[in-house]
Symmetry: C2
Subunit: 187 residues, 2 copies
């Protein structure tokens, strides 16, 4: 029986370590640049906020920036454990909680997974496109796209405090090659 209740889950891990062919849907970017930029911004921001960017927090941020694929907490935990960090769930959930508070990461509700924030200076909520083919997620670069929704809410007197806006489907390359280029997570 097909299971329509299933939460979306990322594709299973593989042993390949190639760059994804569809990194957040834009071809051929240097992902090391993404990671380094994210780390630099995080350090700056933590200094500004007077909070500590501890080793485990930094490492978790690096791990969720490894690719543009949202990572589950237990996937992160597994990697941490292999690197000598404590590997009980609270370790990773605390680090993620910190990163979310600081606006450095987002939770992808429909995947029960986490991803680095692409626009931490804005500290907005993320709107996401999630590819079910390659597992990548892209944060839309604006927070004004859902204005009609907010207006409708406002017209009823509903005060919006937080938004979960996640669109799932297929990114351009996963459409064109009808699944043949589906890329396993690099992690």
């Amino acid at each position: 029986m097909p299971n329509t209740l299933s939460q979306h889950r990322p594709p299973p891990p593989s042993s390949t370590s190639t760059e994804p062919s569809c990194p957040a849907f834009s071809s051929g970017h240097n992902h090391h640049h993404c990671i380094n930029q994210a780390l630099d911004r995080a350090k700056t921001l933590c200094l500004q906020h007077g909070v500590r960017f501890t080793p485990v927090r930094q490492r978790v941020l690096e791990l969720i920036w490894q690719s543009h694929k949202p990572l589950g907490a237990y996937q992160i935990l597994e990697q941490l454990g292999g690197e000598g960090f404590n590997s009980a769930p609270p370790t990773v959930y605390r680090a993620l909680e910190f990163l979310l508070e600081q606006g450095l990461a987002h939770r992808i509700t429909s995947l029960n997974a986490f991803i680095g924030c692409s626009h931490p200076q804005r500290h907005h909520q993320g709107y996401f496109l999630i590819c079910r083919g390659c597992g990548s997620a892209q944060e839309l670069p604006t927070d004004t796209l859902a204005d009609p929704l907010k207006q409708h809410a406002g017209a009823q007197g509903f005060k919006v405090e937080s938004e979960t806006i996640e669109l799932s489907g297929l990114c351009p390359s996963c459409q064109t090659e009808s699944g043949s280029n589906i890329v396993e997570p690099t992690v």
Copy 2:
């Protein structure tokens, strides 16, 4: 430590059985009418589709229509068990799966909870306003509100297949009485 990781959860149950003061945010409606209408539509729709509206399926639909508050699977299960139904998780998850397939219910991802569909004839995805005060959720009566999002996705060549759009906040009555009228679930 405040926990920003928390998934939203409905307020804990109470023993009161009064009507919620903010039933899907519109004052003073007769909720029995909601339930009866939903059941009638479900029966009709199942006949049309040639699928069986079995006792457990009907009862689960009634339970998620008990109020406008999304219900967790285990909350449903608990009530089923008290009524002589089998009370193992697959029972309720299968019934919910059926109701989702038939467009009679929605999953509220950010709550891990389920709610009756207010517009089953349309069989669209639901867009929801979720009140953190009273726990009620209202399905927005249109599926065109997120067009700017879809256009943005389309402009990138992303093919949207499913949408998770859930706005959380406070409904009018939970704003005005600053929490004093927070209504416990009726279930």
